[in-house]
């Protein structure tokens, strides 16, 4: 899990997204604090994607032409799904898992970004009619999230734990929201 070289997987940066098929190996994103990592995988078409968004939605005065779509839940999540459908996936087969949305900063510096990111995740998915199959969100830990593009396994690593969050065939494990 620890040494993911450039030839073993693709690193998804902050406010970025990547998709790929089995040959690409793995997608990994680091340093999910209040940001949320959202993985999607179609086990039949064997394509998947990983999104790392920072904020729930763009500022109202933001220019839609210049904003980075993968920075926000409202723009990034529909785009992740659209790109996967263009790559051969079917929306009703997509298996989505989420990680992050923690509260890292304490007090006034913390504008409840983690919580707002989690709320917007639910809102956008509800509108798109897609349910999560698993999530590891909330708390106050930074997480690393990995999606295996061959098997569809999702791994999470944090200070507290390291291991498999979900794999195709497992029962749905959406946990109770952490405070």
């Amino acid at each position: 899990m620890t040494d993911i070289g450039a030839n073993q997987g693709l690193v998804v940066g902050v406010a970025d997204m990547a998709i790929g098929s089995a040959a690409k190996g793995r997608l990994v994103t680091y340093a999910l604090g209040s940001c949320i990592g959202l993985s999607a995988f179609d086990p039949v078409a064997k394509v998947g994607g990983l999104l790392h968004y920072m904020l729930p939605q763009p500022a109202e005065q933001a220019d839609p032409k210049t904003l980075k779509p993968y920075m926000y839940a409202t723009t990034g999540i529909p785009l992740l799904v659209r790109k996967l459908v263009e790559a051969g996936a079917r929306q009703d087969r997509l298996l989505l898992a989420a990680a992050g949305g923690a509260e890292i900063l304490e007090g006034a510096a913390n504008m409840a970004i983690g919580k707002r990111n989690r709320t917007m995740l639910r809102k956008v998915l509800w509108k798109m009619n897609i349910a999560l199959v698993a999530e590891d969100t909330g708390g106050s830990v930074a997480r690393t999230m990995t999606l295996d593009l061959d098997k569809g396994d999702v791994h999470i690593r944090s200070r507290d734990k390291e291991g498999l969050l979900w794999a195709p065939g497992m029962k749905v494990t959406v946990a109770k929201e952490q405070p």
Partner: protein, 44 residues
Amino acid sequence: MNYRILIVDDSPLLRATARRAVLQAGAAPERVREAQNGKEALAA
């Protein structure tokens, strides 16, 4: 998901919300039924 689900509530809006949630969770549409009161629920 192989469950039969009966949604009972007098509000059509809340029934629609609950239906959407169970369908998103993978329930088969033809196995989800609705009733707006106890009598209907027993009949369904």
